[in-house]
Structure formats: structure tokens, C-alpha cells
Point group: C2
């Protein structure tokens, strides 16, 4: 690079122009700012103003905050989407047939794999960061709008033709730690705001006092500790959300009582996991996404809290993924069926309202993957005959833990035996389905049209399911 | 990767077999263990036993410890060499015509550029590390034979077809910090010893009491502080060797006296630089190569001591190099000529005895590059009419500092003016040459043959000079 070349662009429009992006190109984003993200819509809005058309949008995920994308799809600015999932008004519109091209839904590891095979090739990666220096050394832990780990973005940095950083703060050179290195960054634009810090952790770290949720969480912890894998030096991922947080707390009690320490915890790291570390109960935190401010601040200061890329986390085509080394993982479900197939994408109304995330990655990799869910949410059943959408194949799920009992996958007889010996309340999954029908009746299936609105890609890139248009 | 795939190989022979290396292929190495390295000869010896032929050896540099390579060249195992430099018996043999193909001499930044253009494509990178885990998460700061920064190897990791780690210790999973990440490592072999820790720092950190060297160092520090660039927040690289260490000490006195702090120091980091940090006189240490145990230990524990790759350090074709941001650098010379061209590769006898290193990279990048050298070493002159070999073009050298006076490059009149105003002893470089001739006479030129034994590549890959066979 000519030493007098400047990466700093005076505006987003200038950066877009210098990036060389053309109609029909692919733009990528990360979702570390979650519901607080202000980068994606700012960029797509500018692209619309500049008259761009037919772009492929490859975001590691999409949130309710991105509802306005529907307008840009209608205008023809965005023609195709890759994402781990979607929620809110955008998801509703797309589920009802907004797009001509189906959305491609991938897992976190699957996204890295799609980049590796070249199916996703970001012409320009637009990466929001709280701070970087004039050459692009950037991290997610310094500055005002901190998002912690930049794990998803690190994959884009490796594969994108052009990397544009959108930064809130310009730090003195050199800015360290440099999660993103200067020699991978083409252009930099300073923005007044890349995100709303108060909305980064929305929904991720709820603490529940709901007795049903606490019951499920306690049972989940009992399954983990009774599985035969709860041994000194084990590894675990519990994820985010109220049930996961509660499970982590019960697990902590057992770890503390038996002085059984985990070598490492993977995630999706939450403040609860940091508490485990601070209590000396886990040796290392391995972090592809920081779920709350406590996790973010810990990543900055704790030398045993490590940022990893989504490829390191879960790429099934790579040379080694953390998920494959996991002993146990706690997962959620919108639906789970008699074959233990899990749906975390579509609601029982057929509308998308979730994300594939690391679900099928960790389920495949971990020695023990359990799903926790209430038997009914209001009158919506979790256990169904056949899931609306398969995200994770049932063969990878060892057990379902509900408030009405625990169903062990028949392909895990040794787990059944262990949990039975512990006196835990076990039921065949068909019995849980029947219980649910007895209480709430059989749910009405939504009416689907022929049009495919989303294609679900398994982590290796293969098509595992399709989502059809919801007719009403 | 199949989760049951094991990267661990029971022997070097197995790793070589699994690597897919074929005759005529390219193998790469780093030189962070310097004179203590035991990896390169172990691998090449095994390749010889396995009958490999016509290999290209791309090592970031070669040391006296690698003399035995001459045998493998004679046997036809190694047909071509890329290196920053060479010393000792191997260099002597090659300078006298041992190889059919000329050695390609590159700078540290130039090596990254040759990888980026694809001229060097390591089929297999053999990377010695003190410790890694079973998936290859590795660093240079944990374990017995620590080498500190793995900066050179980080480039190989990005470009090699197959990455083989040779490790002394297998650390528990996951090993962090992970300078080399698991998803970039194909194979792992445990070795009894990857290096001799007592020889890593050999020659790099001598402390001099020689009054002539101290005079040069004091003057060098005066040039730096009087250059107009010695301002709060400046940046500096002083490198290793007795003169550099002494210069760093004098510079420190001035920084301390005037309370002028450097924002960052680049290197080639030595314990002296760590002292500067500890004294609060430098904000960050940016480290592509750790020269001594103090630097190595500091890299492990100091959050403001940062490991960078040789590409980040100096790649001229990349998106941003630290050398281009430098204010000042102190360099050495075996010879410097009337045009300020510098030779750090060949002795006055025409035999190779040095390395290009970061010389031309930093000289090009820094605002002020000065060369320190004694007027005479024994009776060998430093200032010559024309250097035996050009490594760094004179246009990038601002001044030569010797015990007999300071010569400012005529292309830097403003520097001349500043130093003159300070009363420093300035001489035209031609006067220094004359002084040297008056004392020691004109040196006899070596006799060279027609055969080209080495091609000197400038940092951008262009050929800047050739080294001819020494006839006697």
C-alpha cells in the first residue's frame, strides 16, 4: 500500500464508491450489536440512495431492529438474503412471500462453511466496531458502544474482497488488542453511532423467577450432572436466554458442591458464565459472541477469556471447531418432534421468529446435547408430531427436558439408564406429546402455499428443509 | 473436519507423509529460535532419509546453526533457497558457488509480499512452537523453549497448503493465547526439543562497554532527539545488537530528562525496550520477533505488548504495515557507500554474513532512518565508494552516524541544518571515506566469478542486486 494512501473516508457514500461494489454484488454484516445494531440499515439505506440494486445481503443474523429492510427488498435494492435467522416485521413479511428468492438460513458454523466453499463471497464486508485506529486495528471491547467478541465478523474479514470498518471512535494508533488487523482492512468510515449499547443484551440475559422455568432449569442441570460427563475438566455451553441462565446457576451449585471444575465454557458468553469463572469453577471462557456487558468487560480484562471466530467456533469444513470438543450443550426449541428433530426458526403459525444460530453445530459436536423447553407456551405446544421446520436432526439430541418430564432419545439408552437410576421423571416423548394434547388440544396447522420463502441449510451446506409461504 | 480425525502424528516421518509433500515442493520455516533452532535440520534430515529431492526451502532466515544444510544441498535434497540472509559455514559454501540456483534474499516485508504474489507458496510449513494443544492452538510464550512472538510464522500459516506444528509440549485443550489458531493447523508432531533456549538470544542483546560503540550510540541518540521528530507520542525501532541497545539507553535518558514519551516501539523487541515500557516512557510494544527472554516474558504478561505478523510489520503489498507508520529507526551496516546505499548481507570479502531483515522495510517506511556503524572494524572500512551488495537504497537513509562523525544525506538538508545548529560533528560522507582510507588504506576488492550465487530482492519483489561467486 502506498504509505500516503488514506483508508479514512469522509462519508459512507465515499466508502461505498471506493469499495468498488456493483449491482448484483454481495454485502455482509455481523450481528454482534444484536437489537442495538445501527450499521446494517445505515449502509443499506445509503446503498438505496445511491441507486444500488439486486444485492445479496449476507448478515450473520437479522433482528427485529432490521424491519425496515422490507422496504429495501420491495425497492429491489436487496434481492437475496443469507442469515442465521430473522424476527419481527421483516420475518413476518418474508414468511408471507415478500421475496422472489428464498432466504438461505444457515447456522453459525454453516456460514463459515458457505464462505469457505465460496457460495457466500462478500464483495464488501461492512463491519461495525466501537473503535479502530486510522489503519483499521479494531476490537469490540474499547469505546462506548462495545459489543465484545467480533467472532462473526472475523470470518468476513478472512473472505471479503473489501473490508469496510464503520467505527464510532477513532482510537490513537496503534489500537490494541487488534481483533481485526490493519492488513485486512481496506476502508474506514466514522459514524456518529454504530449501535445502541442499551439494546445489545436485549432478551439474552433475562433472569427468570417463573417457577416452571426454574423447574426445567433444575432438571436440566440434573441431566448434565447425571450424564456421566460431569467430570473434572469438562466443557460446556449453556447459551443465553432465561432458561439457559437459570440452568447455569443450578449447574454452578452442583459444581461448587462437588468441586467439579470445567476446563472451559463455550459460547455465547453471559455474565453468569463470567461468575463461574470468577468463582474458580471454569478455567477458560471461549467467546464467539458476548451476550451482555459483564461478558464484554470481562473479555477486555480477563486473560483467560478468549475471542474466537465463528469458523473456530463451528466451521464443519475447517481444520478444527470448538463445538466438536464440547462435552455438553444446553439448547432451546420452538418445537421438537417425536424423532427429536428441533425447530428454532418458525413458530407454530409457520412464521419465522428465530434463528438457527449454533444449534445444529453444537448438537452435532457435543457429546451430550439437551433441549430445554416448557411443554406449552400459553396454549402452543412444544412437542409435536412433526416439526414445522427441521433445523437440527433429532439423532443429535440426547434428551428433551420439560416441566412435564424428561424424554430421552431412544438412541441414548445409557443416558436413559443413568437418569432412571437417579430417579428423574422420565417419559417417552410420545407421552409428552399426548400430555400436551390432553391439556391444550391438537394445534391447528397453518396453511402453507407452494412458494418456498426460506431454504434451511444444514451446517455442511446441504439443504435440510424448506420453509413455505404462510397463506394467512 | 471429521471430529474423530487426529492431527497428532507419532513421528515426523508420519507427518511428512500425511502432509502430501512431493519432490520439487516448497517447505517453509521461521527463525524465531535463531541460533537455538533445532526444527529446520530435524525436518530436512528426515526429508533426506525419506528420499525427498529438489525441494525449495523458504525459511524466514538462516543462522550459523544451519551449516549442515550444505550437506543436504550437495545431496540434492534442497535445490533452491529463499531466506532473509545467512551466516557461517553454509553462507561461506554458498558464496563460493555450492548451489546451482541462486539463493533469493528477501526482507521480512518482502517475504510476506512474495507469499502474497504466490512466488513463495509453501506446500508445507513446518512451524516449531514451544507448546500447542491437540488441535494446534499454539503460542510462543508458554512452555520451556519459548521464542516469544511467532510473527514470521503467522505469515506461513496464512499461505501454506499444509501447516505442521512441531511442538515440545502438548498443552491441555484449549491452549491460549492462540497466536496460531486451531483452524489453520493440519498436523502436529511432538519433538523432544525444538530449540536450545540458551541460544535464542545469542548475539542479539550484547551490552557494550566499548567507548567507540558508546560514542556512536550517544551520537545516534542525539540525532534522533535533534531530528525534529522527537515529540510526545513518537514511534521508534532500534533493533538488536550492542550498538542498538546502547542507543536505546541513551535515548531513554533523553526521554526521561525531557519527559517525552513514545506512543509505541516496533521490533525486534529487546529487554531494553521493555525497560522503557516499565519506566512509562513507551505506551505499546509491537513485536514481530522477541530478541531475549525478558521480551518473551513481557509478551506473555504485558497487555500492551502485542504480537504482530511479519505482514503487519512490513508487507509493502498489504493494506497497512507498521514500518510505514514509524517516525524513526536505527539501523546497522556492514558497508555504506557514497550514495548512502547500505549493505548488510555480504562482507568486504564478498562472503554472505548477514541478513536483509527489516532493513529496507523500515528505511523506506520511517520518516527518519539512520545507520550507525564504526568507521572501521579492525581494518575493514564501513564507508566505501560502492557497496559490495545493495540491500537498502541510499535515498532512504537520512544519516550515517560513526565514531568519526555524522554524515547527513544531501537529500535531507533540513536534517543537516538541525544537527548543525546543535553543534554535532558533521562531515560529508566522502570525507569519512577519505578518513578511513587515510587510516587503513584502500581495501582490496574480492575476486568475483560470473556465477550468481544470490539474488537480492527489494521489498516489493523487484531485483535490486546480485551476489556473485567469490573466487577465493
Amino acid at each position: 500500500m502506498d504509505k500516503h494512501y488514506s483508508k479514512l473516508c469522509e462519508s459512507l457514500a465515499v466508502a461505498i464508491k471506493r469499495s468498488g461494489l456493483a449491482n448484483g454484488g454481495t454485502i455482509s454484516f455481523h450481528h454482534h450489536f444484536r437489537e442495538g445494531d445501527r450499521v446494517l440499515l445505515a449502509v443499506v439505506g445509503e446503498l438505496a440512495r445511491l441507486g444500488f440494486r439486486d444485492l445479496t445481503l449476507a448478515s450473520s443474523s437479522l433482528a427485529e431492529a432490521h424491519s425496515e429492510l422490507a422496504n429495501y427488498i420491495e425497492q429491489g435494492v436487496i434481492a437475496k438474503i443469507y442469515s442465521s435467522g430473522m424476527r419481527g416485521a421483516l420475518a413476518d413479511r418474508i414468511s408471507h412471500g415478500l421475496m422472489a428468492e428464498p432466504v438461505q438460513i444457515h447456522s453459525h458454523g454453516g456460514r463459515a462453511a458457505l464462505m469457505e466453499t465460496g457460495e457466500i463471497h462478500p464483495d464488501v464486508a461492512f463491519i461495525g466496531v466501537p473503535s479502530c485506529d486510522r489503519l483499521g486495528n479494531a476490537n469490540g471491547v474499547s469505546g462506548q458502544t462495545r459489543c465484545g467478541s467480533l467472532g462473526y465478523a472475523l470470518v468476513d474479514v478472512d473472505y471479503a474482497g473489501c473490508v469496510v470498518l464503520l467505527t464510532e471512535e477513532l482510537a490513537p494508533y496503534p489500537n490494541h488488542p487488534a481483533s481485526i488487523r490493519q492488513d485486512r482492512v481496506n476502508l474506514i468510515v466514522q459514524m456518529a453511532s454504530v449501535g445502541d449499547p442499551s439494546r445489545i443484551g436485549v432478551g439474552a440475559t433475562r433472569v427468570t423467577k417463573n417457577p416452571r422455568d426454574l423447574l426445567i432449569a433444575r432438571r436440566a442441570a440434573q441431566v448434565l450432572t447425571g450424564s456421566g460427563l460431569f467430570n473434572e475438566g469438562f466443557s460446556v455451553q449453556t447459551g443465553s436466554g432465561a432458561a439457559a441462565i437459570a440452568t447455569t446457576r443450578y449447574l454452578r451449585e452442583q459444581m461448587s458442591a462437588t468441586q467439579t471444575k470445567a476446563a472451559w465454557a463455550l459460547g455465547g458468553i453471559t455474565g453468569e458464565m463470567v461468575d463461574l469463572y470468577d468463582a474458580g469453577l471454569v478455567g477458560r471462557l471461549v467467546d464467539t459472541q458476548s451476550f451482555d456487558l459483564r461478558a464484554i468487560d470481562d473479555l477486555k480484562t480477563n486473560p483467560n477469556h478468549h475471542e474466537i471466530s465463528a469458523a473456530e467456533y463451528a466451521n464443519p469444513l475447517g481444520l478444527g471447531a470448538y463445538v466438536d470438543e464440547l462435552d455438553m450443550v444446553v439448547l432451546s426449541a420452538l418445537e421438537i418432534d417425536l424423532d427429536f428433530n428441533v425447530n428454532v426458526l418458525t413458530g407454530s403459525d409457520g412464521v419465522m421468529r428465530g434463528a438457527s444460530g449454533g444449534h445444529c453445530d453444537t448438537a452435532r459436536g457435543a457429546k451430550l446435547a439437551i433441549v430445554t423447553a416448557p411443554l406449552l407456551r400459553s396454549r402452543t405446544p412444544t412437542v409435536v408430531e412433526k416439526v414445522t421446520t427441521v433445523i437440527t436432526p433429532g439423532s443429535d439430541i440426547a434428551a428433551l427436558v420439560t416441566d412435564a418430564g424428561i424424554a430421552v432419545n431412544p438412541n441414548r439408552p445409557e443416558l436413559h439408564e443413568r437418569l432412571h437410576a437417579l430417579g428423574l421423571p422420565l417419559s417417552p416423548i410420545a407421552d409428552l406429546l399426548q400430555r400436551s394434547i390432553d391439556i391444550a388440544g391438537r394445534p391447528r396447522s397453518p396453511e402453507f402455499g407452494d412458494k418456498v420463502v426460506a431454504v434451511v441449510r444444514y451446517r455442511d451446506g446441504s439443504v435440510i428443509d424448506e420453509v413455505h409461504e404462510v397463506l394467512k
